[in-house]
C-alpha cells in the first residue's frame, strides 16, 4: 500500500466508512509491533486495541498452537493490566509464556469445559473493561460469536486474541471461513538462523497477515518474541528473501 496522503479520496472514503461503523466514537488506539515493515501494513500503524484478532499456527502449529500462543503472549505482554487466558486444554507451559514477555502474576487462566464455555468467558472478559487483554484458545469461531466478541471488544477497548487451535490438522481449513475479526494472522515456525557453533539460534517465525480489515495482507519473516514480548527483524533479511519465499510455499502447503 502506498502512503495515505497520496490518495485523498481513499482517505475520505475510509473516514466515512469508519463513521458509519461507529468506531470513531472512541479514540481508537493501536499497539505497534515496533517493526516499521509490519506497522506500515496495519491501519493506524499497529494492532487495534478494541478489536478481535485471530492467530493460528501454520503446518504442525495448527494442532499444537505453540507459536500462536507465544505470538499472542508477546502482544498482550506489552499491554498493562491483567490478562485473561481461556482454554480447554491446559497444556500451556507457563515458563515459556513468561519468556515471551508475559509475567505470570498478570495472567489468570480459565480452564473451561468446552468451546461454548470458552467463548462465553472470552466475551465476559472483553465486556469487563478492567483487563489489559483476553486470549482464548478456540477451534471453531462462528461468524455470530466473532461478531459478539468484536462488539464486546469495541465497547470496552480491550484487545481480544483468538488463538485458533484445532484437534486435527484437517480441521485447519476452518481458518478460511469468514469472521468479524479485525485481523487474521498465521504464525509458522521456520528454521532458525544457523550459528557458527552447534546449537539453535533465536527462533524464527514466518508471520502471515492473511486478512486485515481496511488493509492488505502481507507476510514477514521475524525473530520470535524476546523477554519483553518484542519481535525483531532478522539481521540478514535482505539476503534471505528468496529463502523466505520457500518457507511461504511450505507453510501454505
Amino acid at each position: 500500500m502506498t502512503e495515505r496522503g497520496a490518495r485523498p479520496h481513499v482517505a475520505a472514503l475510509r473516514a466515512k466508512i469508519a463513521e458509519i461503523e461507529g468506531v470513531d466514537r472512541r479514540a481508537r488506539s493501536v499497539l505497534p509491533f515496533g517493526i516499521e515493515a509490519m506497522d506500515s501494513k496495519l491501519p493506524g500503524g499497529g494492532l487495534a486495541l478494541g478489536a478481535l484478532h485471530e492467530v493460528a499456527g501454520g503446518s504442525q502449529g495448527a494442532t499444537d498452537g505453540a507459536a500462536a500462543a507465544l505470538f499472542a503472549a508477546g502482544i498482550v505482554g506489552r499491554i498493562s493490566g491483567s490478562i485473561l487466558w481461556c482454554m480447554t486444554q491446559a497444556d500451556l507451559f507457563a515458563p515459556a509464556i513468561a519468556q515471551a514477555g508475559l509475567d505470570p502474576d498478570r495472567v489468570i487462566y480459565v480452564e473451561a469445559r468446552d468451546e461454548t464455555a470458552v467463548l462465553s468467558c472470552f466475551e465476559e472478559g472483553l465486556r469487563h473493561g478492567g483487563l489489559g487483554g483476553v486470549v482464548a484458545e478456540v477451534a471453531r469461531l462462528p461468524m455470530t460469536a466473532s461478531r459478539r466478541l468484536q462488539l464486546a471488544a469495541e465497547s470496552t477497548g480491550t484487545i481480544g486474541i483468538a488463538v485458533r487451535r484445532w484437534r486435527r490438522p484437517a480441521e485447519a481449513s476452518d481458518l478460511g471461513q469468514p469472521t468479524a475479526a479485525a485481523t487474521r494472522w498465521r504464525v509458522t515456525a521456520v528454521p532458525s538462523e544457523p550459528l557458527p557453533v552447534p546449537g539453535v539460534g533465536r527462533h524464527r517465525w514466518f508471520v502471515e497477515l492473511i486478512r486485515c480489515r481496511a488493509g492488505e495482507s502481507a507476510d514477514f519473516l521475524v525473530e520470535a518474541c524476546d523477554a519483553t514480548g518484542r519481535l525483531a527483524l532478522p539481521a540478514d533479511l535482505a539476503d534471505r528473501s528468496a529463502a523466505s519465499q520457500a518457507w511461504a510455499k511450505r507453510a501454505a502447503s
Binding site: 499456527g57 503446518s59 504442525q60 502449529g61 499444537d64 498452537g65 505453540a66 507459536a67 500462536a68 500462543a69 507465544l70 505470538f71 493490566g81 491483567s82 485473561l84 497444556d91 500451556l92 507451559f93 507457563a94 515458563p95 515459556a96 509464556i97 513468561a98 519468556q99 515471551a100 505470570p104 502474576d105 495472567v107 489468570i108 487462566y109 480459565v110 480452564e111 473451561a112 469445559r113 464455555a117 462465553s120 468467558c121 465476559e124 472478559g125 469487563h128 473493561g129 478492567g130 483487563l131 504464525v187 509458522t188 515456525a189 521456520v190 528454521p191 532458525s192 552447534p198 546449537g199 539453535v200 539460534g201 527462533h203 524464527r204 517465525w205 520470535a224 523477554a227 518457507w247 511450505r250
Partner: protein, 464 residues
C-alpha cells in the same frame, strides 16, 4: 446388642442388631466398645456444619449415620454431582472414615442406594431411577422392621415387587407408610426437611404474605436482601466469601443458589449481580413464601487506603473472577506460579487467581517449550551416546531429521521428594527439524549408567 460393626466384623458374619453375647460366642476375642449415641450425634452435627460451609446450602441430619445434602445449584463448584461425591469420600478417607455417597433425584432413592446399593459412589439420573432402586430389598425403604417382615412373608422381596402391588389393599393392611415411602423413593412425593443452621452465621430473611414467583420480583427482593446482608457484614467488620440464597416454596420444597467470591466482599452491587445471574435456575413452583440469604463463610475485611499518588490505580478484576468462577467452577480459575524445582512438571504450580503477587520466577536463560505434554511421548531415535542429540526421530509415525540441536541440559532427580529419584537423570535437548519445528526431547538416564534411567527417549514439549 451390637449397634455397629466394622468391615472386618461384617465379613465374619456379625451385624448391627445382633445380641452382644451371641457375637462374643461367634468370635471369642472380639473387641467391643460402648456405644455413645450422644457423641455420635454431635460428631454428625459437626460434619454437617463442615459440609454446609463446603458443599451445599441445605443440609439435614439423618441420624444415626447419614447426612442429607441438597446439592442442587451448588454442585458446579466441585465439577458436578460426581465431583462432590468423590470429594466428600476423599476427605472422609483422609480422617480414616469410610463412607458411601449417592446422588439421586429423590431423597428416598438416595437414602436407599447409599445403604443398600452396590456402588459406594453413584450418581443416578432421573431416567435410570426406576431401574436403580427396583432391585433393592424392602429394608431400604425406611419402613419399620415388623412391616418389612410381614411384607416378606407375603413374598414381597424388592422395591419393584411392592411397587407392583395394588395400592389400596396395601394401605388397608399396612397403613399409609409403605405407599408414602414408595412415593418418596420414586420422587413422587416431597419430603419436608429441617435444615441445620451454622451457629454463628450472618443471615437475613424475608417472608412474603403473598407467594412470589416472577423472576423480576425475585431479583428485586434478592437485591434488597443483599443490601441488608451487607449492612450486617459491615457491622461485624467482615466480608462474605460465600453466599447462600434459599427460596422456601409454598409446597415445602427449598430451592437454593450458592455463589462464591474470590475476595471477602460487602459490595452489594457485585453480590447482587452474582445471585441474580443464576435466578433463572430457580423453579418457583406455586410461589415462594420465604427467602433467606446467608453468608456461611466470612473473612475479616478492613478498609483499604486509596492513594492518588503515583500511577493510575489498577482496575479490580475480582468481580470478573467471581462471575467466571461461578460459571465454570472456582478450581478451574487459576494463576501459574513458579516453584523451586528443576523438574519441568514440578516447576509450575497453580495458585488462586486473586492470590498475592509471587516473587519467585523461572530462570530466563533456559529455553522452555510453549506446550508441555502431561505425559512425555516415547519416541524412536538414533543418537550417539553418551551426550549427543538424536540424528532423527519418529513421532506420530513421521520421521523427522534433526538439523540443529542444543543440549544436553541435565536435570537430576529430586532425592528429597522421592527415594527412587536418588540417582535418576534426564538429559534435555532442544532440537529443530528440517521444517523448522522445534521440540524438547529428553533421554532418561545419562547415556552410560543404567542406574540413572532406562536410556529411553521421550518428547516432552513443543516450542513455538
Amino acid at each position: 446388642m451390637l449397634t455397629a460393626a466394622n468391615t472386618a466384623a461384617r465379613s465374619i458374619g456379625l451385624h448391627a442388631g445382633m445380641a452382644a453375647t451371641q457375637a462374643q460366642a461367634l468370635v471369642p476375642d472380639l473387641t467391643m466398645m460402648d456405644a455413645e449415641p450422644e457423641e455420635d450425634r454431635q460428631a454428625l452435627e459437626r460434619l454437617a456444619i463442615w459440609s454446609l460451609r463446603r458443599y451445599a446450602p441445605i443440609i439435614a441430619l439423618d441420624p444415626p449415620d447419614g447426612l442429607m445434602l441438597d446439592i442442587t445449584g451448588a454442585a458446579h463448584a466441585h465439577g458436578g454431582a460426581l465431583g462432590v461425591l468423590r470429594d466428600i469420600l476423599k476427605r472422609l478417607a483422609e480422617v480414616e472414615t469410610a463412607g458411601r455417597a449417592v446422588c439421586a433425584p429423590a431423597y428416598g432413592a438416595a437414602h436407599a442406594l447409599a445403604r443398600y446399593g452396590a456402588d459406594p459412589v453413584r450418581v443416578v439420573d432421573p431416567l435410570e431411577l426406576v431401574g436403580a432402586i427396583g432391585a433393592l430389598p424392602l429394608a431400604a425403604l425406611r419402613l419399620d422392621r415388623a412391616t418389612v417382615l410381614s411384607l416378606s412373608k407375603l413374598g414381597l422381596e424388592t422395591i419393584a415387587d411392592l411397587e407392583a402391588m395394588p395400592r389400596a389393599s396395601l394401605a388397608l393392611r399396612f397403613g399409609s407408610m409403605p405407599g408414602q415411602r414408595l412415593d418418596q423413593a420414586y420422587g413422587r412425593a416431597s419430603e419436608p426437611f429441617e435444615p441445620i443452621a451454622a451457629p454463628e452465621r450472618i443471615e437475613v430473611e424475608r417472608r412474603f404474605v403473598e407467594p412470589i414467583g416472577a423472576p423480576e420480583t425475585l431479583a428485586r427482593y434478592t437485591r434488597k436482601l443483599v443490601d441488608q446482608l451487607c449492612q450486617q457484614l459491615e457491622e461485624a467488620g467482615v466480608g462474605a466469601r460465600r453466599l447462600d440464597l434459599r427460596f422456601h416454596r409454598v409446597d415445602n420444597v427449598i430451592e437454593a443458589i450458592r455463589a462464591g467470591l474470590a475476595r471477602p466482599s460487602r459490595d452489594a452491587k457485585q453480590m447482587g449481580r452474582l445471585l441474580c445471574d443464576r435466578i433463572e435456575t430457580v423453579d418457583p413452583g406455586f410461589g415462594i413464601e420465604r427467602m433467606l440469604l446467608a453468608a456461611p463463610a466470612v473473612e475479616p475485611l478492613s478498609f483499604r487506603t486509596i492513594s492518588n499518588l503515583g500511577d493510575v490505580p489498577v482496575p479490580d478484576v475480582a468481580a470478573l473472577v467471581d462471575i467466571l468462577g461461578n460459571r465454570v467452577g472456582e478450581e478451574r480459575l487459576y494463576r501459574y506460579a513458579a516453584r523451586e524445582s528443576d523438574i519441568p512438571e514440578r516447576s509450575v504450580t497453580r495458585i488462586a487467581p486473586m492470590a498475592d503477587p509471587t516473587l519467585l520466577r523461572w530462570p530466563e536463560r533456559w529455553p522452555r517449550p510453549a506446550r508441555l505434554f502431561a505425559r512425555p511421548a516415547p519416541i524412536d531415535t538414533m543418537a550417539l551416546l553418551p551426550d549427543h542429540p538424536p540424528v532423527h526421530f519418529v513421532w506420530r509415525g513421521i520421521r523427522r531429521r534433526v538439523k540443529q540441536a542444543d543440549g544436553p541440559e541435565r536435570i537430576y532427580g529430586e532425592w528429597h521428594v522421592s527415594e527412587a529419584e536418588w540417582l535418576s537423570v534426564r538429559d534435555y535437548f532442544l532440537i529443530e527439524d528440517e521444517t523448522g519445528a522445534r521440540y524438547w526431547v529428553f533421554r532418561q538416564g545419562d547415556g552410560m549408567d543404567s542406574a540413572t534411567g532406562g536410556q529411553g527417549w521421550f518428547l516432552h514439549g513443543l516450542f513455538g
